[in-house]
Point group: C3
Chain length 202, copies 3
């Protein structure tokens, strides 16, 4: 089941890359690269930081197939992709939940402090999108809008609270992931954002 | 001979960095950095991804000398550098051919899937230019024009086809490199580009 | 004492990140990220290049606390931060001196050529600021103004000259660091810049 989620998340990430790259009117190759970078960027930075190389997407060719396939599909059906935005947003959110928890568990495995494990989970879930925005020459969305990373952090905190509470490992994984997903869905639905630190007059 | 090609390729990459950095009116230090990053960026990302550290340019000081020397030379003769554009383009193309094949062989050595070896070769040949463009705050050329990466990929496919055909290792190296070089030369000469995915009206 | 300097330098780097992120009107999370990246970026690239993972900020949670604390403090007192600019500049400069020498010693430990050790020291001291500028979508300051990196390089040259002169290790560390600090202070005070390579008419 985790593998299926991982595949769906990868697809959603790749397609989000395709959509932004097409807005920037990149050529075919550029689009594929952006799709790839969006999908694997987070896991790659995670693996580099903890020294787990070759990085994970280089150890399983399946992800390359999934990314390339999703990207070509997205290009082919680009005129209809708006109808899929809800499904894509859902896959994306589920992917973020999964990647956060996977990152946390890799951090625990590398003996990192819980706070750093949460950071690693958040990096795994969000760095692909950051890279996508940098390569498209924009200030990363994550630095300006949405409560994206906050969801990952809350999920991460949940993860360690459940460990303290002595909950079983498999439940922790699922429950922490669900927190990430729910926070993000609720935040988007009710347009919750982080409080602004700038006074209105500015 | 490979070493000589490597040096020539490094020179060409470094000088291409100098030219763009001067267009952006960077100061001396900025120009040197861009020259350096353009020349070693691809190999560095390759080595990081497969965990082959310290990265290769840190293990042989010669490349640092070559890059710094080429950069200073390029700055000194900047008014005449237009006369050298053809030679530079040729060195650059030969360098790309070499780096592609070297990257592929490092990937094979790290037990990667052939497709990922080709990706690694393409990264080796092109990431320096991508970094150069990002640092100069432009959307990387590779995402928008030229058939640059396609040449690397075709060379990589040739590499593995020749392995399947049972050709001897040294010939494979040379032949795959030549494919990269020829595809790029022909593409530039005949202005071949990837088919556009955008309809004309857009 | 080194640890105290390291903390002060980290604070100064983090706060410089906060100031620029606030100019760009990023939200709270964006500001924290930029603070973090500015403070740990140089050490992270250094550790990745030589393969010393998990990277150093992941092995000591103190730095995370210091960065987050400084960032929140800077946001709270943002209207008064101008009065602290001199202290911040001083901490920043001391941090750069320290990071340069720490980077050099890590390079020596990894058996690198002296020139590459100096490069590694300069990377440690300056890459955080480069990342900060890239993430804020600006051409990095280091590529265009200030004599920042030149100070690191002169300190590094001093380091190896003192080794050749047979000076004791602890003195080398301090003296090379002081050279970095003094060069930067003098350069800023007397507005010394690198000679321009562009003729006036351009």
């Amino acid at each position: 089941m985790f593998y299926t989620i991982d595949i769906l998340g990868t697809m959603a990430f790749a397609i989000s890359g395709v959509l932004i790259a097409m807005e920037k009117r990149m050529d075919l190759f550029g689009i594929l690269i952006i799709a790839f970078v969006t999908a694997v960027g987070g896991g790659t930075l995670r693996d580099l930081l903890i020294g787990d190389t070759p990085v994970s997407w280089m150890r399983d060719i399946t992800f390359t197939y999934v990314i390339m396939g999703s990207a070509f599909l997205a290009i082919l059906i680009k005129n209809y992709i708006n109808y899929l935005r809800t499904s894509l947003f859902l896959f994306d959110t589920i992917g973020i939940g999964l990647y956060t928890v996977v990152g946390i568990e890799k951090g625990i495995h590398a003996d990192l402090h819980p706070i750093l494990c949460i950071a690693l989970g958040t990096i795994t879930a969000s760095f692909g999108g950051v890279l996508r925005d940098i390569l498209c020459n924009e200030i990363p969305v994550i630095f300006r809008k949405e409560i994206y990373a906050t969801a990952c952090i809350l999920g991460g905190v949940t993860y360690f609270l459940l460990i303290l509470a002595g909950v079983e490992n498999d439940y922790i994984f699922m429950f922490a992931g669900l927190v990430v997903i729910l926070v993000r869905l609720l935040a988007v639905k009710f347009k919750i954002t982080l409080p602004s630190i700038y006074s209105k007059g500015n």
